[in-house]
């Protein structure tokens, strides 16, 4: 799999949205490849590693959630943005549990989407050993790399907003990860969470 530092994959069944997004990103000197369905995207994603993926979650045929699962988005190196046209939170939460990097609601403007993609790409580049310390406590192995990063931020005292800024994702997405982490580790509250991570003691 080759790495393409300025390549963006856009997956959307609507031809004009695909084209408009291409126009915007090409003007920002990104290279763009577009796909009108999940399967052709998945094939391309296995060959090349883009800098970022923008995926419409509401598509006829294979749903965005399903595509995330097949991609194994949790482990996929490029951040995957979900675009959701219907703004329903359970679906967005589900997408993030399936490893989506963050979600953007339709309609969005060019500045927002370009900025979000740039932030994400930068955050991924900074990622390095972020979250690596988060391994030596009970339950650590159940967390995804992204969840470990979020946990490191939380236990470092960052607010949702600060953590979001560092990791290039929205505070709401941090919230989803936080709930998921607490559930996995059986923590009752934030203080409990810190105690588990620092002392290595399970909650009882």
């Amino acid at each position: 799999m080759s790495e393409e530092s300025n390549l963006i994959y856009i997956v959307d069944d609507d031809p004009s949205v695909r084209d408009a997004l291409s126009v915007v990103f090409e003007m920002e000197d990104f290279r763009v490849e577009t796909f009108d369905n999940g399967d052709s995207f998945l094939m391309a994603a296995a060959r090349k590693e883009p800098a970022c993926v923008i995926l419409d979650v509401h598509m006829p045929g294979r749903s965005g959630i399903d595509i995330l699962k097949s991609l194994n988005a949790e482990e996929y190196p490029a951040p995957v943005f979900i675009i959701s046209g219907q703004g329903d939170i359970p679906m967005a939460v589900n997408a993030i549990k399936q490893g989506a990097f963050d979600f953007i609601e339709k309609p969005f403007d060019a500045d927002t989407v370009v900025q979000r993609v740039r932030d994400a790409v930068d955050a991924m580049a900074r990622r390095g050993d972020l979250g690596d310390k988060m391994r030596n406590f009970p339950g650590a192995e159940t967390l995804t790399p992204r969840e470990r990063e979020v946990l490191e931020q939380i236990t470092g005292g960052a607010s949702n907003k600060e953590a979001g800024r560092t990791l290039g994702i929205s505070p709401r997405t941090i919230e989803v990860h936080r709930a998921r982490i607490m559930e996995k580790l059986g923590a009752r509250n934030a203080a409990d969470l810190v105690r588990i991570v620092l002392t290595g003691e399970r909650s009882d």
Binding site: A20, L21, G61, R62, G85, P90, F108, V113, R188
Partner: protein, 386 residues
């Protein structure tokens, strides 16, 4: 002790009379014999249970005892009328009548009356079937059906709004992106451009933005109708949906197969909404197998990881690739009637429950399989505070 049909058995019961006796008392339906004057001659066990009288209490009494007042007053007349004219109003037909329990409570029965010419004169045999269980069932089904119809209507409006919002959002998003792309380019290029063009682009962008906000408000309005989530059993949801679909389908020639895994934990859903999906899927399946050589549908449910998976499979021809492309799109039905919102709504309901609705289109002699996936009720995430 047992003197229920003493009127018939004045002398020693012969073999055939003993057999008759046993038949009468074994019958599930009430059987009651009267003479020409309306006097009760025989009253079987089922009648005793139905009316709360012992046979000994009513044999010899007039049948009017068992009728509500308004029928009782007319009964002598109609009996007499029949005896004179031979004009049968009830004999040979079954019909629904109200009768009166010993306590005075009235209830519906289905009554059929036969006639026997005996050496002791004409006798009439009435067979009575209690309609209360059926009534309760019918009322329950009627209630469920009108609830579903009402809901489907409200929901169709909602979903129509949501579908329009979703469909309009696509081109609108594209328009906004195009406009902003030009604006950014124009700003990057600097002085060469007439400032009025930048101004106009800005205005066009703001208008597109305004249209977006209108759609947003419309969607919020639609989504404000809170779904009523509660813990529900998957088996019950399927049972009730199936019942609703089969209601009134007396000539169904389709084999409906159920295959449910045991001990599936409950799901946290809006039951009426999920029923709407299932009713939709089952109806579609019945529709497509109508003209098939083999006619069956198969509904299965099982647990897969943290989800419950419900599948509706059919023996139809499968879905062509042309139809498949637009299957879950709003306003794209290939059926003559309907808006084509059914599957689009179903998919969006499934997704707003954190699940999904997908299809294996089949074809080449294989029918379609629709898969509804719903997350298990996990009692929510742990609370952040104690």
């Amino acid at each position: 002790m047992r003197q229920g049909i003493s009127g018939l058995t004045a002398e020693h019961p012969s073999v055939s009379e003993a057999r008759l006796l046993s038949i009468l008392d074994t019958a599930v339906d009430g059987i009651c014999v009267i003479d020409e004057t309306g006097r009760i001659l025989s009253f079987n066990r089922a009648c005793e249970r139905l009316f709360g009288y012992a046979a000994s209490e009513v044999v010899g009494e007039n049948i009017k005892l068992l009728m509500p007042e308004e029928f009782a007053v007319r009964h002598d007349d109609s009996l007499g009328n029949y005896l004179r004219s031979g004009e049968a109003k009830i004999i040979g037909y079954g019909r629904e009548v109200r009768v009166r329990h010993k306590t005075g409570r009235e209830f519906p029965v289905e009554l059929s009356v036969g006639e026997a010419h005996t050496p002791e004169g004409r006798q009439f045999v009435g067979i009575l079937r209690d309609l209360r269980p059926r009534k309760i069932q019918e009322e329950r089904l009627n209630r469920m059906q009108s609830q579903l119809v009402h809901f489907a209507r409200v929901n169709a409006m909602d979903e129509m709004g949501a579908a329009i919002a979703h469909e309009l959002n696509q081109p609108l998003t594209a328009v906004m992106l195009y406009l902003q792309a030009i604006t950014r380019k124009a700003q990057a290029d600097g002085d060469n451009l007439d400032p009025r063009i930048i101004d106009i682009l800005g205005k066009a962008g703001r208008e597109a933005h305004r249209a977006g906000q209108i759609i947003q408000r419309m969607r919020q309005f639609v989504e404000n109708r809170e779904a009523e989530r509660r813990s529900a059993s998957v088996g019950d949801l399927i049972d009730e949906s199936l019942e609703l679909v089969l209601l009134g389908q007396y000539t169904l020639s389709v084999n409906v197969v159920r295959d449910d895994e045991e001990n599936i934990p409950p799901v946290d859903v809006d039951p009426v909404q999920i029923q709407q999906i299932l009713v939709n899927l089952i109806r579609n399946a019945l529709e497509v197998v109508k003209d098939a050589d083999e006619r069956w549908i198969r509904i299965s449910s099982r647990r897969v990881d943290d989800d419950v998976v419900i599948q509706v499979a059919d023996s139809g021809p499968g879905i062509s690739s042309v139809n498949l492309r637009n299957l879950f799109r709003a306003f794209s039905s290939t059926k003559k009637k309907g808006l084509g919102l059914g599957l689009a709504i179903s998919k969006s309901i499934a997704q707003s429950h954190g699940g999904d609705l997908t299809v294996d289109p089949g074809g080449d002699g294989r029918g379609a399989v629709f898969t509804l996936r719903l997350p298990l009720d996990r009692g929510g995430v742990p609370n952040a505070d104690i």
